[in-house]
């Protein structure tokens, strides 16, 4: 690239940044953004419809709050209970089931709590707590955090008793939590998508997976124009219809890292 064309491209930016006037704002999760899924599927939707999708990646709890305030047109999140609450409160809906993958229990290869080989995630958590082995929690009201707390309840363990000791809440997204766990040789619950795209694993490895209770279901919701008249309801609905239709579902299925499929489209099955 010559110096002149570089300079020109610097000057031309504001025009190109504003050029796409048809757009929706999608509040979604760090897991979908950081796994690279959006980079793979959104260009196809924009090509087909001329609607750009601006993704703001937050924890599920925060993404739902952004929707409640009317700052997004659509949501793609993964915490069924919180999604149902959002719809029941009249902020949007109906909720559509889009895709799933699974959560995995990740930990140091040395596995001090000896949870490898266990198929049972509840038993694995009980052993981590009993061993007092470091466990990093998202602690940020995200979908993954909600799933983790649900699993602790299933295990019959109150992890908050380990606060300030082995149970470490970082209050950040999946990536930073993985970085923290890698630095401390700690266990943590991660979504498989972010894990597969994550580069700084150090000694971390998957220790427990495949338990049916580790299902990670994503749902899409359009924000209600009754609550927030300015939202782009038609465009948002078009996006959700596309996501749940054949083109979107195929695009989701087609996203792979190192030949491994990250998300499994399941809009056709009943949620």
């Amino acid at each position: 690239m010559t110096r002149r064309s570089l300079l020109l491209s610097l000057l031309a930016m504001p025009a190109t940044a504003q050029a796409q006037d048809r757009f929706i704002t999608l509040a979604s999760t760090t897991s979908t953004e950081q796994s690279g899924l959006f980079g793979h599927i959104l260009p196809a939707f924009t090509r087909e419809t001329g609607i750009a999708v601006r993704v703001v990646a937050l924890g599920t709890g925060q993404a739902l709050d952004v929707g409640r305030r009317g700052d997004a047109d659509a949501l793609l999140v993964h915490d069924r209970a919180a999604e149902d609450r959002f719809v029941a409160e009249g902020f949007g809906g109906p909720r559509r089931q889009v895709m799933y993958n699974d959560f995995i229990l990740v930990g140091p290869a040395a596995d001090p709590a000896r949870i490898g080989e266990l198929g049972d995630v509840a038993e694995a958590l009980r052993r981590i707590a009993a061993a007092g082995a470091p466990f990093v929690s998202r602690g940020d009201r995200s979908g993954t955090h909600a799933a983790e707390l649900r699993l602790w309840r299933l295990a019959g363990v109150d992890p908050l008793a380990g606060r300030g000791g082995w149970y470490r809440e970082v209050g950040q997204g999946m990536g930073p939590a993985l970085n923290a766990a890698a630095a401390q040789d700690a266990y943590l619950l991660a979504d498989r998508g972010t894990w597969l795209a994550f580069r700084n694993r150090q000694s971390l490895t998957i220790l427990a997976a495949g338990d049916a209770r580790l299902l990670n279901q994503y749902g899409a919701i359009a924000v209600s124009p009754q609550r927030h008249p300015h939202v782009k309801a038609a465009e948002a609905q078009r996006f959700i219809d596309w996501l749940c239709g054949p083109a979107g579902q195929a695009a989701i299925t087609g996203y792979r890292i190192n030949d491994e499929q990250l998300f499994f489209a399941n809009a056709a099955t009943r949620g």
């Binding site: 690239m1 570089l6 491209s9 610097l10 930016m13 504001p14 190109t16 940044a17 704002t25 760090t30 953004e33 950081q34 959006f38 980079g39 601006r54 993704v55 703001v56 990646a57 305030r69 009317g70 700052d71 997204g173 999946m174 990536g175 930073p176 993985l178 970085n179 890698a182 795209a197 994550f198 580069r199 700084n200 694993r201 927030h228 300015h230």
Partner: protein
Amino acid sequence: MQDLGSAMTAAVALVRAGDPAVLRILALSLQVSLAALGIAALVGLPLGALLAVARFPGRRLVVVALNALMGLPPVVAGLLIYLLLSRSGPLGRYGLLFTPQAMVIAQAVLITPILAALTRQVLEAMWEEYAEQLRSFGAGPWRAVPTLLWDGRFALLTVLLAGFGRAAAEVGAVIVVGGNIEGFTRTMTTAIALETSKGDLPLALALGLLLMLIVLGVNALAQGLRDAALRRASA
């Protein structure tokens, strides 16, 4: 150290590839920070100059408050702007949240106190020196403001660069009000935060090196302009 090496390699590769996505992020960072600097300068410089010359009750309080605001945490500034610009907030109808304009506003709010406080500091010293002289020409404090700003322009350049540096390096506010949207509100600092999240530390560090290079370039340019102007003035 091996990480630093691979970051250097990655940084060089980034520049050589001229990746349009990276260029766009760089351009947006520069545009947002320069626009914020422009707005902050329009407000902060005259405000600082006025505070340097005017004497009124409560002035010391204003000066202390302004100095304290230099330490305004970016996340707090970001949150305040977020609540103002949110669709449910008082300025919601303009739909500015998650846009580059919102980031400009946030950075301008952050650096205006810095410009005003430092300008007051610089010009107050000059005012003490010149006050007699200017008064003898019949110039009151108000008339002195433009004169002081002009005479202090070389010292004020450093003040502007301090403001620009803070704006360009800032991540807490722009990530909250901009949303780090790819191709729209992703700046160098929010991209660095994102790559750190993804565990791609070499790429994050490479982007960081690139940002520092740009800031260095802006500073060198400013220094060059200042030197050229000084030479012209003394010639």
